[in-house]
Symmetry: C2
Subunit: 217 residues, 2 copies
Amino acid sequence: MSIRESGATAARKGPLRQDTVVDTALALVNLGGLESLTMRRLSDTLGTQPPALYRVFPDKDALLDAMADAVLAGALGPLPEADWETRVHVLADRLRSALLRQRDGARIVGGAYTTRQPTLAIADSLLSAMGEAGFTEKAAMWAVTTVFSFILGEALEQQGRTDVDLEHVKATLPAQEYPHLARHPLPALLDFDARFAFGLQTIMAGLRAARAHRPPA
Amino acid sequence: MSIRESGATAARKGPLRQDTVVDTALALVNLGGLESLTMRRLSDTLGTQPPALYRVFPDKDALLDAMADAVLAGALGPLPEADWETRVHVLADRLRSALLRQRDGARIVGGAYTTRQPTLAIADSLLSAMGEAGFTEKAAMWAVTTVFSFILGEALEQQGRTDVDLEHVKATLPAQEYPHLARHPLPALLDFDARFAFGLQTIMAGLRAARAHRPPA
DNA sequence: ACCTGAACACCGTTCAAGT
DNA sequence: ACCTGAACACCGTTCAAGT
């Protein structure tokens, strides 16, 4: 697969724009991972010199923040008119998908600290749902962060461990030292969809139990 | 605070040992953050030349893996003889403390992928507790990963956002676009202990509800 | 206004050579 | 066996200069 085919290049006319730089940067990460993203390679792909980038972003961290925003923007969209639980579920699934869609998406989002449009929009939607559930104001905030931390942690694990050879681990695992691990099905660790589904359901069940019991409208 | 006072130096006799290198590296991170850790600075602090490190670790990633193990080792220790819920709770608290004790601990652990002694020991203890709770084998695995992902995500957030000026966010927050955010107490986001306590309790409640209902022994 | 050329102060890593 | 000296191929970032 050439760079051109996978969209890591940008035929440009006129001055360098933020979106172009961000899109190209994300495409580069998709090709070679986050550590392969350098200002030099990026400027190369854009057909400019490194200093040209510093007219668009003050430094690499600012670029990474913008990339995080772009990744999170993938989780935006209209929500179904439904009860709070299904809305949280939908938002959680979307957030996870947005992180997984981009190579190293979780690391990009987790590393950046941005409080801009997509972050705020997602947080607001989640808060809206939690408010409806009948949490106190603080509890609603913490319900949001709980869901978010779980999603981020799971995506991080999934995108991190790409080529674990579970066979090796299983083979070299000293069964008498770790009796429970030895007795459990290690491949279940790699079934990330099931992991996520289980965890999200667990958290939802916990939230259902923890919320103040308002009479349903 | 000088480097010597904070333990980032090591008077050495005899050849360079793994522990010394790892301890010094962690001390350097405590001083200046993960990005300040370079092989050159590390060798400087150890009183050697950079190539000497490559006789102890094949590359920087291997060193980071060993650092992750050392951080996780902080969560080891004897467990109280108690029901599965309190054991999970104790393990979760310890794991979080171990991550927070070391600057950038969550990033070090989240970035490494090691399946060595401390990781396995912690996983085994958690699995033991989950098994007792009456989960199926797979569900027990996923219960462990759920707790772990949440802990990692929370620690990452806490260690990442060190100097957020919530005042600024609050002040510039367009209230009509994010009505729920505007109505909720943003400072609750920085009460990381309460966030964690809420989340862990939520997950525990969810696990209690989701487990197979065996008769108590 | 927007970009290039050239440089600065770093990186991780390798390799020959020293003791 | 263990380490040093010197180098290679990179980094992010700055700054003068070009158009």
